[in-house]
Amino acid sequence: MTDPVTACDGQGPPVDLENQPVIVEVRNVNKAYLRGNHVIPVLQEINFDIRAGEFLALMGPSGSGKSTLLNLIAGIDKVDSGTIVIGGVDITALDETELAHWRATNVGFIFQFYNLIPVLTAFENVELPLQLTGLSRSERREHVEMALRVVNLSHRMDHYPSQLSGGEQQRVAIARAVVTDPTILVADEPTGDLDRVSAKEIMSLMCRLSRESGKTIIMVTHDPKAAEAAQVIRHLDKGSLNDAHP
């Protein structure tokens, strides 16, 4: 096997973003945390758009608020002020239950620490988000098998997370993230806990999801090598965005 120079080598061209509609609109978002009686501002007046099919890398120093911003977009945290409109839905206006339903169909999650349920097999982990849909058992099976095929783990579907390597577990997590065909994929340092070879494998997979399947991906990363796979890179610093393109 030849070692490609970047994760996206040998794959098709990136999506032409000019002609794509805006799918995520972040407007005047502010977020602060309360620690004791100190208010710690984390994000200030964040504004940006993400187009359908965009592969965005969010970079910045530790503590700059990358995870916080990603969580806000993914609907697992609440803004203090501002709006986030995704696919026409203002998610800052949804209540907890609505938000949970919205997440189930619109967001695929990939985290640094794989986040699989240890007592479930690879198959069952990937099937998990489908349990909240109205799909029949056989339809679910079909989707799960397809998702596992995409990440090239069909042969390991009956294995438990503890029987898989870190890279393989992260691939299962990616399969779980894409199995519902969500509007956006969010990834928080997906390669942060992996060795170089596995990391490249994961990035190559992410790149393929972007270029071949046209997924909209928002990825937080520290790793410039990982960011190379993205089309757009934004830098967060002390709670503000400094835009940059590769």
Binding site: D77, A104, F109, Q112, N115, I117, L120, L128, D193
Partner: protein, 385 residues
């Protein structure tokens, strides 16, 4: 269903921890069940008593006798339809430790008062016709290997001498609450012997046992009888059989209350132990619960996972505990049957066991569920890694 599979797998994830917790619950339920059964055994005499029977005894104390002559006056009281009498004999079979209750009674009326002692007709007739005949309970007969026709010698303690009886019948209880460890023989046999050997003690009875036509008459009949013998040499105290039995139990009531308290304390302790296990487990899983929530699973699902796991553990322990209670109670009865003639696990006790198990499971799941449902997802996810 996947969710059920999930919570069962979760419950047995830490095999040692779950195993020890289940063992704890098993022992607690076993102890609880045994203590309850013991208390029930204590009250067995009270439970088995009939509202149609009254006991008349000497008003000073049960150890003082009443004259046999009272029987005719008692018969005349309206509402009384049967009069029987007897003495606590206190005979010993071979040695002291073979204790069992034995009475001299007026046999015909006594058996009529106690339809719950079931005796085959032929045995009943031969018993009634044989002055030296006796009937024994099934359990005591089995214990000593007595057969119908055997001659049995009891050593008298209250009434000295060696007393020979021919076992003419073996009675069975109509149901499990009937004491099958007693022996009855003819009061006449006792009385005639007394006439010859200790005439001062002849024509005296320890108690009268009477039947009344209607339980509602108990108060009225008692008052009339006691009034009849007021100011006589031996005044009477008449009460329902239940009150009479209760007077024995109430002597030890403090102990019974203590036992009942202990049985509740045991459940409270195990509740705390299981709650601690569940809190520990849920703390470790907080990240996993956050993942479920992230994927869109609601609070009810999380609550179901935790309560489900907690109930799987507590009910597994409860089931094993109940399963063990029966053989242990059996062994206990074999060993201490003379003190507890009626000793069996009542259905009610099993229901209490199950209720306790469910309660333990629910209480143990309460706090972890509250925490897991209310924690912010972002905070929950931070706990991973």
């Amino acid at each position: 269903m996947r969710t059920l599979k999930l919570l069962i797998r979760n419950a047995f994830r830490h095999k040692l921890r779950s195993g020890l917790t289940i063992l704890g619950i098993t022992i607690a339920i076993l102890a609880f069940g045994m203590l309850r059964t013991m208390v029930n055994a204590w009250y067995a005499g009270v439970e088995a008593s009939s509202a149609n029977r009254l006991v008349i005894r000497n008003s000073i104390s049960i150890v003082f006798p009443l004259p046999i002559a009272y029987k005719d006056k008692i018969r005349q009281v309206s509402g009384v339809n049967l009069v029987s009498w007897g003495n606590w004999f206190g005979g010993v079979y071979i040695e002291e430790k073979n204790f069992f209750p034995n009475f001299a009674v007026e046999p015909k009326s006594y058996l009529a008062l106690y339809p719950e002692y079931v005796i085959p007709d032929l045995q009943r007739t031969t018993f009634l016709n044989d002055r030296k005949g006796a009937v024994a309970g099934r359990k005591i007969a089995e214990k000593f290997g007595w057969q119908v026709g055997d001659t049995v010698t009891l050593k008298g303690t209250i009434f000295p001498g060696n007393w020979e009886f021919a076992i003419r019948g073996i009675y069975k209880g109509r149901d499990r609450s009937v004491d099958e460890t007693q022996l009855f023989f003819h009061w006449d046999y006792l009385n005639e012997t007394m006439k010859k050997t200790a005439s001062r003690r002849a024509d005296q009875v320890g108690f009268y046992m009477i039947g009344i036509t209607n339980p509602n008459l108990a108060g009225e009949v008692s008052t009339t009888i006691d009034a009849t013998f007021k100011n006589s040499l031996a005044e009477t105290l008449t009460e329902t059989e239940k009150a009479f039995q209760m007077s024995f139990v109430s002597m030890t009531e403090a102990i019974l209350i203590a036992i009942q308290l202990v049985s509740i304390v045991i459940i409270v302790i195990i509740m705390a132990v299981v709650a601690n296990t569940m809190a520990m487990t849920a703390r470790e899983r907080i990240g996993e619960y956050a993942i479920f929530k992230t994927l869109g699973f609601g609070g009810w699902f999380i609550a179901g996972l935790i309560f489900g796991e907690s109930l799987v553990i507590s009910l597994t322990g409860t089931a094993i505990g109940i399963g063990l209670t029966f053989p242990v109670a059996e062994a206990f009865h074999d060993y201490l049957g003379t003190y507890f003639p009626i000793f069996f696990v009542e259905r009610h006790t099993v229901y209490l066991d199950i209720a306790a198990g469910v309660l333990v499971g629910l209480v143990a799941g309460l706090f972890p569920t509250w925490r897991a449902v209310n924690i912010r997802i972002a905070d929950g996810l931070r706990r991973i890694g």
